[in-house]
């Protein structure tokens, strides 16, 4: 068991990084609680796999330290960090049976055979692989092989944390949710830290207790799925999470009031300091926008039916504003006006939440 801390971490794949863009991971400090279920969420290229590999020791960070329970393990090799990693596509030893695959990490560490047998049986049962122990690993389907990969991590009693690098990528869609539930169930049973890297918000939000959202090498927000949804710290988080994502409208500020298209808009976070020279935007989720008698004038562009609600796409000038309405609410043909719920309307300066 361990709490993992990352201090002053910064990483570049180039030998001599010059500008900000040369850094794959910008400076960050992060702590992972022992036994937590974390998701590392972000689009491709945001640095999440780099971060994962730094934690597991497959990559040595250019700057900074990796601490397990306060001990600096930055220079320690992977196999001595007591972590396990499941990769994007299944890694199994084709020539061995499922049993031998699971036993492999234990045998390498000279664990006595009786203990090996017990542990392997136990883990196989947990992963529903018991009937296949004698089969050749190469003959299993993709999800079976991923379970083997996972199993090899679980058999080691000394494992502090399990890393998952987009493990469901090659799994058939109808099996994805099965495997996901299995992972969640496992986490509840064995209570070890699990860090799950993905670019799929559904995977992240259903698996994790806490989500770390990354964008262009930076950690943008850490929070529970609810927090990320209701109070995005960055417009990127607003965009990325939720479907459709948060509406972002350029606006201006006068004193402590937000001005949108000449009209004053009440926001949840009026600015307390000057915001000169920054790009000011208004962020509000479609869930908190509604038609009203008075408000922002918009032109209705499209209405899509999503079953339990409808998504209405409107346009104001060059900005697009989406809102969700109940199926029985009438959508005005013209002269539509929108009202923003002040409790969820927020100001962002240069993308970041104004606080």
């Amino acid at each position: 068991m361990a709490r993992i801390a990352l201090q002053g971490l910064r990483h570049s794949y180039l030998a001599h990084p010059q500008s900000e863009q040369d850094w794959a991971l910008k400076r960050l400090d992060l702590e992972w609680e022992d036994g937590g279920a974390y998701a590392l969420l972000g689009p491709s290229g945001c640095g999440k796999t780099t971060l994962l590999n730094i934690i597991s020791g497959l990559v040595r960070p250019t700057e900074g330290q990796v601490l397990f329970d306060g001990i600096d393990l930055t220079d320690v090799a992977t196999d001595r960090r007591h972590i396990a990693q499941v990769f994007q596509f299944p890694v199994v030893y084709d020539t061995m049976s499922v049993y031998d695959n699971l036993a492999f990490p234990l045998r390498n560490r000279r664990v006595p055979e009786t203990e090996v047998r017990e542990t392997v049986q136990q883990i196989a049962r947990m992963l529903d692989l018991e009937d296949m122990l004698r089969m050749r690993a190469a003959g299993l389907t993709a999800d079976g092989k991923q379970k083997i990969s996972l199993g090899r991590g679980l058999v080691r009693a000394d494992v502090n944390a399990i890393m998952f690098d987009e493990p469901l990528t090659v799994i058939d869609p109808h099996l994805k949710w099965q495997l996901r539930s299995k992972l969640k169930e496992l986490h509840q049973r064995i209570a070890r830290t699990m860090i799950y890297v993905t670019h799929d918000q559904t995977e992240a939000l259903t698996f994790a207790d806490k989500v770390v959202v990354m964008h262009e090498g930076m950690v943008v927000q850490i929070g529970t799925p609810i927090e990320l949804f209701e109070k995005p710290h960055h417009t990127f988080v607003g965009h990325f999470i939720g479907s459709p994502g948060m509406n972002v409208l350029p606006c201006t500020v006068e004193g402590d009031k937000a001005i949108l298209d000449g009209q004053h808009v009440t926001v949840q976070n009026p600015p307390t300091a000057a915001l000169d020279g920054k790009r000011i935007e208004l962020g509000i989720r479609p869930e908190f926008v509604s038609f009203a008698a008075d408000g922002l004038p918009v032109a209705v562009v499209k209405v899509s039916d999503a079953g339990r609600y409808r998504i209405v796409e409107t346009r104001h000038g060059t900005s697009r504003v989406n809102l969700l309405v109940d199926p029985d609410v009438a959508v005005p043909g013209y002269g539509a006006k929108l009202r923003f719920d002040p409790a969820y309307t927020r100001l962002y300066a240069d993308g970041w939440l104004v606080e």
Partner: protein, 289 residues
């Protein structure tokens, strides 16, 4: 994954290939079969002799000797070139600036005309004026490949290893390159030793390439003609007279059409049989891929 459509038009597409290859294969082979069962005393007059030539060849000491030499040669070079090639491929870096340079240099021997290979080693190993010959004799060894059968064999084998090991290296390296990094990373995490990595990851993934490499080297070494011919001419005496050299001597040298033809057929059958055995043994246990 077989989604081929049944289409007899396919024959039209393969027709040019069939024509060209059949022209070169079937007509000559027919002539060979023809000769193999006939006797001639010149003037284009032929008499049918049945299996006489086959019996003669199969019972001839000369043929047995050549066949034995050939089997020994092929066996030795396979035993050297395959492990050596694999070892070199394993020792090479997986990426980096040196890889291209190394591979290009290694590929050079493969593109030299075979007679130049033979001529080069012929001169290189000359006991009096060749670099290798001088060095070996300078070290105290009494080395002369033009007169000593053992020295001739050693030089022949060294030449073939020099010539063809690179093929094994290139193929093995290609196989190794196709292993994704994640496998090595997972092995690290599992605490696997380098031997375990070789045995459980690298070797299985290289199996297909190695099969190709072994088959190619087997076939080509069994058919080898030019390099040994230019190097030693089959000598001293006939100590390095391998099958092809013997056959050409009989066919083009002595113009013994009958025996040459019979030997050709036996030769071809031997190699077909052995190749099939090799292929089956090496792909045993592999299901449909």
């Amino acid at each position: 994954m077989d989604t081929k459509t049944i289409n007899q038009k396919g024959w039209l597409y393969v027709l040019p290939v069939v024509v060209l290859v059949a022209f070169n294969a079937i007509i000559p082979l027919m002539a060979v079969v023809n000769y193999s069962v006939q006797e001639t005393f010149g003037n284009n007059v032929f008499f049918f002799e049945g299996v006489k030539w086959f019996e003669q060849v199969l019972h001839s000491e000369r043929f047995h000797a050549s066949l034995l030499r050939q089997l020994a040669f092929t066996g030795i070079i396979l035993a050297i070139e395959v492990p050596l090639g694999v070892a070199i491929a394993l020792a090479m870096p997986r990426r980096g600036p040196w890889v291209s340079v190394c591979l290009v240099l290694m590929a050079l021997p493969l593109l030299i005309p075979w007679n130049v290979v033979g001529a080069m080693w012929n001169i290189f190993a000359l006991p009096d004026i060749g670099m290798l010959g001088r060095m070996l004799n300078g070290l105290g060894l009494h080395y002369n490949y033009t007169q000593q059968p053992l020295a001739a064999w050693a030089t022949l084998i060294a030449m073939d290893v020099w010539h063809w090991t690179s093929l094994v290296v290139l193929l093995a390296y290609a196989g190794l390159s196709s292993i994704p990094d994640a496998y090595y990373q997972a092995a690290k995490i599992d605490g696997a030793s380098s031997w375990a990595v070789f045995r459980y990851i690298q070797l299985p993934k290289m199996k297909r390439v190695l099969t190709i490499a072994v088959l190619l080297r087997f076939m080509d070494s069994f058919n080898i003609y030019t390099e040994p011919f230019v190097l030693t001419g089959g000598g001293p005496g006939n100590s390095t007279t391998l099958l092809s050299i013997d056959l050409v001597k009989i066919a083009l040298g002595q113009f013994d059409l009958g025996p040459a033809a019979a030997m050709s057929i036996i030769y071809f059958l031997i190699i077909l049989a052995l190749s099939w055995i090799f292929y089956t043994v090496m792909t045993r246990g592999e299901g449909p891929s």
